[in-house]
């Protein structure tokens, strides 16, 4: 049974998961209509990672995200209208529509930024944790990254320093089984979660289709960080049902494997925990929210060529 203190009430949980899912599906529709200026990297199927992790966080905690970061932004509390407007290249977006999907940030809610560079957030999150520690705050930093980023030098550097300084950080490896266009078996040697042990701090692996399991593991890791006991590496085993980018036919993916993941879909499971009436109410609420976001974005002027800097 889910721990009531550790995950939101069922309707809230479903609402958050569905927002992540439908936000990306709606944006993908807009992309296919030619209304999204930049590329889109979707994380369909991975919703439980962001929602489960952020359930353990408060507003003053900070996160760094990735090129596949819409879920992280939404789960940390970014504004749906401003995100939609940014992706649609509108002046009401987070940075006036200039930067798009890979460069959304909202420091007011602790979102230090999505990132166009794989592994680029690892040093920054480590630095944020250092800054929180110096100031004596009991906030924590969470670094989201994919298993592809574990092949970068930043991964080893960040884990080492975080361990040496007992930094208040949780490293969340979102293992979605693909690094860009290639299965992670080609990229990743050994087991990611076990690398923490070599640096002398805990590493755990959780089922990314189970939002409660993700929240539980994160709560433990965050409690450890807040108490001054240092970092934890949480490897969330999830699955990317979308291609690397919208338009990627993902011919490298095994359809049976994908179907097995769809059968365990966290969004559908969260919906099944509600009564039909409750679920329908949330469905309507999210559709309304997103339709409004799209309408508001499209009503706003496109990014201003006079405001390049």
């Amino acid at each position: 049974m889910p721990d009531d203190d550790r995950t939101p009430p069922p309707a809230d949980l479903y609402r958050q998961l569905l927002l992540c899912r439908r936000f990306e599906e709606v944006v993908a529709e807009q992309y296919r209509e030619g209304r999204v200026p930049g590329p889109l990297h979707l994380a369909l199927g991975q919703e439980a990672t962001a929602v489960g992790v952020c359930a353990a966080l408060r507003r003053t905690d900070v996160i760094t995200s990735t090129h596949r970061g819409h879920h992280h932004c939404l789960a940390k509390g970014a504004d749906v209208d401003r995100m939609m407007a940014e992706l649609l290249g509108r002046r009401t977006g987070y940075s006036g529509g200039r930067n798009g999907s890979m460069h959304i940030a909202d420091p007011d809610v602790g979102l230090l930024g999505t990132n166009g560079i794989v592994g680029g957030g690892l040093p920054i999150a480590t630095g944020a944790a250092f800054g929180l520690q110096v100031q004596g705050r009991d906030d924590v930093a969470v670094c989201f990254f994919g298993e592809g980023a574990t092949a970068t030098g930043n991964f080893g550097e960040a884990l080492n320093i975080a361990a040496l300084w007992a930094l208040p950080i949780v490293f969340v490896c979102e293992n979605n089984r693909f690094a860009e266009l290639t299965p992670s078996s080609t990229h990743v040697a050994g087991e990611v979660w076990q690398r923490a042990e070599a640096y002398g701090f805990p590493g755990v692996r959780v089922d990314g289709s189970d939002v409660h399991a993700v929240a539980d593991a994160t709560h433990d890791a965050v409690a450890r960080a807040r108490a001054g006991d240092g970092p934890t590496l949480v490897e969330v085993m999830t699955y990317r049902l979308s291609g690397h980018y919208v338009g990627d036919p993902a011919t490298y993916r095994d359809e049976a494997e994908a179907q097995a993941w769809r059968d365990r879909d966290a969004v559908a499971r969260a919906r099944a925990a509600l009564t039909g009436t409750e679920a329908a109410a949330v469905d309507d609420e999210i559709e309304e929210l997103l339709a409004t976001a799209v309408d508001r974005a499209l009503a706003a002027p496109t990014a201003d060529p006079e405001e390049l800097g």
């Binding site: 420091p107 480590t126 110096v134």
Partner: protein, 331 residues
């Protein structure tokens, strides 16, 4: 070391840096210092000595040899409210932190609309005999990045005043200190409110016949060449840009417009360098007033050697500067 009545002391370059750090850390508890060997040892050349003893291990941290994450420590800490100073021991090591400096720090304000009060200190130039991976001068790379301020103090006074301004600045600033000048002296105000403004050149010597724009170790050499030229009746103006991004274009254009002649002296090689930029500036803004073709007097376009005599063979010396001045003035 003596203090004159007007609060000016003759400081060595490293003392200027050290005094700036002490003063700013004392003034603002948000200022922290992070880097390889900066704490216990006080830096490989003693530049950061006594800072950990004074401000404690929470604010002065020795890092592992992890340049990318050292830079990232500064970015993340600045993003949550500190004003970090991170040290990347040699300029050449900045290349390991290129992503964090160029892709991350420089774009933080562009992406978030927020300040990122980060100072990155490093050291360049071929003053020591450390060879081709410790003595390079590629400051122009960083000067080409929107969102970065790049300063190159050439003396103790500027080392102190520019570093203090960098620390108080709300945007990422790369301070490239000059190796080979660490023990060079210049009179420096001890006042804790003494600052050298970012983006403002200093005319080190006024003159009418030729403008010499010089950086780093080449500033003192240019001043010596100017002194010798004066004996021959040639009046040389020596400008130290101090900040190379954003460049004080006004000061350079004003001077070159007046003298009609330009020699740019630097320890970097000429191609795609600050010297190239300054000459382009003169061509664009002073074309009608130029009385001779601008000259880039730079290090040979070869890698930096280790023996001192080879190093000197590669970079401009006082005689070379004098010869260039003579060539453009025709005297």
């Amino acid at each position: 070391m003596t203090t004159t009545v007007d609060g000016v002391r003759s400081l060595k370059y490293w003392q200027g840096v050290n005094q700036a750090l002490h003063q700013e850390m004392d003034r603002d508890e948000r200022v922290v210092l992070v880097g390889e060997d900066v704490g216990g040892p006080g830096g490989p050349y003693g530049v950061t000595r006594n800072l950990r003893a004074t401000f404690g291990p929470n604010r002065v941290r020795d890092t592992p040899i992890s340049e990318s994450t050292i830079a990232g420590l500064g970015i993340g800490a600045a993003a949550v409210g500190l004003r970090p100073v991170v040290e990347l021991m040699f300029f050449d090591f900045c290349m390991l932190a290129m992503d964090q400096i160029v892709n991350q720090a420089a774009k933080y304000r562009y992406f978030t609309g927020r300040s990122l009060p980060l100072t990155i200190r490093t050291m360049s130039g071929s003053g020591g005999s450390y060879g081709a991976q410790h003595c390079q001068s590629f400051e122009a790379w960083f000067a080409a990045v929107p969102g970065l301020t790049v300063v190159m103090p050439s003396n103790a006074r500027d080392a102190k005043g520019l570093l203090k301004s960098a620390i108080r600045s709300d945007d990422p600033t790369l301070v490239i200190e000059t190796f080979g000048l660490l023990t060079a002296r210049r009179d420096t105000p001890v006042d804790e409110d003494f600052l050298v403004p970012l983006g403002v050149a200093e005319t080190r010597r006024s003159g009418d016949d030729v403008t010499v724009v010089a950086t780093g170790r080449m500033v003192d050499r240019s001043l010596e060449a100017a002194e010798r030229a004066a004996a021959g009746g040639v009046s040389v103006e020596v400008i130290d840009p101090r900040t190379i991004a954003p460049l004080d274009r006004t000061a350079i254009v004003e001077s070159v417009s007046r003298t009609g002649r330009l020699v740019v002296v630097q320890e970097a090689s000429a191609p795609f360098s600050l010297a190239a930029e300054v000459c382009a500036l003169a061509a664009e803004e002073c074309f009608d007033r130029l009385r001779a073709a601008p000259v880039r007097l730079c290090a040979d376009f070869v890698n930096v050697p280790t023996p001192q005599d080879l190093i000197e063979a590669r970079v401009p010396g006082v005689d070379d500067i004098l010869a260039a001045v003579t060539r453009v003035t025709g005297r």
